[in-house]
């Protein structure tokens, strides 16, 4: 054992280890945790160096983002125009755009004078008064295309140049094209057909950058800024090209996070998909972990495309959409399960969650597999009965805590109504029933920021400050566990990361304040100093 041992004293170490929840020193050797305790517990391993740069910091296990997408890294190549503050991969803090004029001003500012102008993350639901229209975006440019993608992922705004190029006029009677009182298209539209038209007319194309090297670097930096050391790409294409990019970029010691791509299961037949994932598992390494499968089942609640059970949407909207016929979802799940793979299932609405629990129950009766850890993702509308079934079947849930803040008011008023909105993301019930749970951002849908995500589960406040579901609040300690060990469990990596414990990888989030000591309302505001990844110290700012 010729390797150096470094012992880091800290103001406090929060371990997630039941046997020793808190400590003052952690010893690292060869990228792994040699021990955690006080200094006397650690000196017996032989020679060591003391590195006291964290002496006034608080050390937690590196955060694990159990549901994010590297698409976040693609979008940062365009201009963020969202309502809420957000930090880019370069650390630049973009204040929220609080009005249509602010959105327009920002796009004018970044416009280089050539090519299409693309904004993303636009979120007008808290704007009062009128909606953004083509006249607003014409102030950015009239001779070139201007596109603004909404945060909800279902809407976009375009300028007159796009409408003219596509020949969209008052005569265009197509579903997703919004018209003003004058009968003219307003420039706001929804549905994929509108997205296609806008991309075609403008020449903008976000798709050919997905999974590319620059998007991976952006994604890695955004995660690093948030204290994340392990992040999923929970619907990865895993084409030969994107796989090669992952294999080039992620293992490099300068890349700041571990990446867990989950194979996106709609790209091919389940048989081919299962074979691909199994072949890729041989390429897994300490920083890049293949083996997960992700299935999409329904849409989103805020887009009224989630499949929800009676009595349906609060505003009377028709029920949502399946991503594939239920029989095919059932068949695909069986193929992946039989191949021995772990399956993560996007289920926003309770009808989708129920369908997949039915499927898992049938499949396990036919082909039992202990500790499969199939996981329902989002699982926003799980009631107690569904959670009891999840518990009985050994299914984990990774719930979308950030929704409480970002869309809580809409769920209350439009999508679900008070009763169901108050018991969305039922963390306390999951905890009480003993269902393994995690929580997530679904970046780029909402920002990667596990402390913010934990804050959402603890405070359950909407953007307007209203508490949604007092009874479903959980403690700070439980929320911290969910963003570390809880998420690691859903990735079958809880033996490697997620806690500060002998033998595990030396992945730490280094905080400036103690999350167990600050008022819980300030949890989200704790500054992050940086991270340690496999023993490599990664400060956010030059020391």
């Amino acid at each position: 054992m010729g390797e150096t041992t470094v012992i880091y004293p800290a103001r406090k170490i929060i371990t997630m280890l039941a046997a020793r929840p808190q400590a003052t020193h952690v010893a690292v050797r060869g990228g792994r945790i040699l021990g955690v305790g006080d200094l006397d517990d650690l000196t017996g391993w032989g020679d060591y160096e003391i590195d006291d740069r964290f002496a006034d910091k608080v050390i937690l296990p590196g955060f694990v983002e159990g549901h994010s997408h590297t698409l976040e890294g693609v979008l940062w190549q365009y201009t963020y125009v969202g309502f809420f503050d957000r930090t880019g991969p370069d650390g630049h803090h973009w204040p929220g755009a609080k009005s249509i004029d602010e959105v327009v001003a920002r796009l004018r500012e970044v416009d280089t004078g050539s090519g299409p102008v693309v904004g993303w993350g636009f979120d007008p639901i808290y704007f009062t008064g009128r909606r953004m229209n083509k006249d607003d975006l014409d102030k950015v440019a009239t001779d070139r295309s201007v596109l603004v993608l909404h945060a909800s992922g279902h809407l976009l705004n375009v300028n007159s140049a796009v409408l003219n190029a596509a020949g969209v006029t008052a005569d265009t009677d197509v579903h997703g094209v919004f018209k003003g009182p004058d009968g003219e298209p307003t420039g706001e539209m929804q549905e994929f057909a509108a997205l296609y038209m806008a991309f075609e007319a403008s020449g903008a194309n976000i798709y050919n950058q997905i999974g590319g090297e620059s998007s991976l670097h952006n994604f890695g930096r955004v995660c690093h800024l948030a204290g994340v050391t392990t992040a999923t790409d929970l619907y990865a294409r895993l084409t030969p090209e994107t796989t090669a990019a992952l294999l080039r970029v992620v293992p490099d010691p300068s890349f700041p996070i571990r990446v867990v791509p989950a194979y996106g299961a709609l790209a091919d037949t389940p048989e081919n998909g299962a074979a691909l994932v199994k072949s890729l598992m041989d390429k897994s390494s300490a920083k890049l972990r293949f083996g997960l499968v992700k299935m999409m089942t329904d849409g989103s609640i805020q887009g009224f495309t989630a499949r929800i059970k009676w009595p349906g949407y609060y505003n009377g909207a028709p029920n949502g959409l399946w991503n594939a016929p239920p029989e095919e979802l059932v068949r695909a799940f069986n193929v992946f399960h039989d191949a021995g793979l772990q399956v993560h299932m996007h289920t926003n609405g309770n009808e989708a969650s129920e369908l997949m629990l039915d499927t898992i129950a049938d499949t396990l009766a036919r082909n039992p597999r202990p500790d499969h850890r199939h996981t329902l993702q989002h699982a926003q509308m799980m009631d107690e009965a569904l959670l009891r079934r999840a518990k009985a079947l050994g299914v984990a849930v990774n719930m979308f805590a950030n929704h409480l803040y970002y869309w809580g008011e809409q769920h209350l008023a439009l999508t679900l109504g008070p009763e169901r909105a108050h018991r969305m993301e039922p963390f306390a019930t999951a905890q009480r029933l003993g269902v393994p749970y995690a929580m997530h951002s679904d970046a780029p849908v909402t920002p990667v920021a596990p402390l913010f995500t934990a804050w959402c589960a603890v405070e359950r406040r909407t953007a307007e400050g209203r508490v949604l579901g007092e009874a479903e609040k959980i403690s700070v300690a439980d929320a911290l566990r969910a963003i570390t060990l809880g998420a690691a469990y859903t990735l079958k990596m809880d033996h490697e990361v997620g806690s500060i414990e002998t033998g595990k990888r030396a992945d730490f989030a280094i905080l400036e304040q103690d999350p167990l000591a600050v008022p819980s309302a300030e949890l989200k505001d704790i500054p992050i100093w940086g991270t340690v990844l496999g023993g490599i110290v990664q400060p956010l700012h030059a020391e």
């Binding site: 190029a165 596509a166 020949g167 969209v168 005569d171 265009t172 009677d173 197509v174 579903h175 997703g176 094209v177 009968g183 549905e191 994929f192 057909a193 509108a194 997205l195 296609y196 038209m197 991309f199 075609e200 007319a201 194309n205 798709y207 619907y235 084409t239 030969p240 996106g264 709609l266 790209a267 091919d268 037949t269 048989e271 081919n272 999409m296 499949r307 028709p318 029920n319 959409l321 399946w322 991503n323 594939a324 016929p325 239920p326 029989e327 095919e328 009808e351 369908l355």
Partner: protein, 318 residues
């Protein structure tokens, strides 16, 4: 700007026979230069002998047809298909078994580089009633019926005459389709599935299309279809004037029209006669949809649009 590419949508629930029909189309000698976009390569019997070149998500067949998978984004895959040089002569998109074909048709309604040809919906005669009552997919199965311009009632060999007649009436009552084919193993004349754009100038045949349910399949390739959708409501007086004044080249029209103050009605027009009756349960509310069938000599699409739009009020549908 190059001429828009004709765009056909093939819809219908899982098991209705879409793959069987796709296999027929891909094996047809005259399918050249068509791009066929499917959900799942794996189920097609693409004969190795027919494959000229293969690369990732696309296969070029010996007959010139390119077959490619949609994957998880029709937006992205369609951009790829349209980026090819030269552009395909025609595009056929297989809508997923739970997709609303009308929303796929919107791609062609919105993009100036595409022209909506037909929405073809396959129906499993044996299963359709159960599908439409299914708690998970019934709503979507009904939307698919409503969205059709052309219905193919498949698996006719699996039901007896009485059931076939009854099911056909039930399905047609919930569909705007102007033409229905009955088929076994999706065996329909392929020319009938695509509009005769190449033959648009051809004189109409002297043929009575009024009894279209029975009209010989080999004549359907000589007619045009045109469809219209709106979320605004129709004015009854203006609609009646429109229907009375349609030129004789319009052979048939069918659809669901939301009449101001009256709600959703089924419109049936055959020759000079038309009827408006309350639409049955299960037809999606909140929009109107009209399909017109005529000889190649009927007014151009833009003129039909102007005519029909003239009967629409500015108010949103009920």
């Amino acid at each position: 700007m190059p001429a828009p590419v004709p765009f056909t949508v093939l819809g219908g629930y899982l098991g209705a026979g879409k793959t069987t029909l796709l296999n027929r189309i891909l094996a047809a000698p005259g399918a050249g230069d068509m791009a066929v976009m499917v959900n799942d390569f794996g189920r097609l019997n693409i004969d190795a002998e027919l494959v000229a070149a293969q690369g990732g998500r696309a296969v070029r067949l010996e007959n010139g047809c390119v077959c490619c998978t949609i994957g998880d984004s029709l937006v992205e895959s369609l951009m790829q298909v349209m980026a090819a040089t030269p552009r395909p002569a025609r595009i056929l998109v297989e809508a997923s078994g739970v997709a609303d074909p009308a929303r796929v048709a919107d791609f062609a309604r919105l993009s100036p580089s595409l022209r909506l040809d037909r929405v073809i919906v396959l129906v499993d005669l044996e299963q359709i009633r159960a599908r439409c009552a299914d708690r998970h997919v019934g709503d979507m199965a009904l939307k698919q019926l409503a969205a059709a311009d052309v219905l193919v009632l498949n698996k006719a060999d699996l039901v007896d005459d009485a059931a076939r007649t009854e099911t056909r009436a039930w399905v047609e009552g919930r569909s705007a389709a102007v033409v229905t084919f009955e088929a076994t193993r999706a065996d329909v004349p392929l020319a009938a599935l695509f509009a005769p754009s190449e033959r648009a100038g051809q004189a109409p045949r002297d043929h009575d299309h009024n009894r279209n349910h029975d009209h010989p399949h080999d004549d359907f390739d000589a007619v045009r279809t045109w469809s219209f959708e709106t979320r605004r409501v129709f004015d009854r007086a203006r609609l009646e004037a429109l229907l009375d004044g349609l030129p004789p080249a319009v052979l048939r029209a069918k659809g669901f029209v939301d009449l101001a103050g009256e709600g959703l009605m089924t419109l049936q027009l055959t020759g000079r006669r038309w009827t408006l009756e309350p639409a049955p349960d299960g037809v999606p509310r909140g929009q109107s949809r009209l399909v017109v069938l005529g000889t190649p000599g009927m007014p151009a699409d833009a003129d039909l649009r102007r005519l029909v739009t003239g009967a629409v009020t500015g108010s949103p549908a009920t």
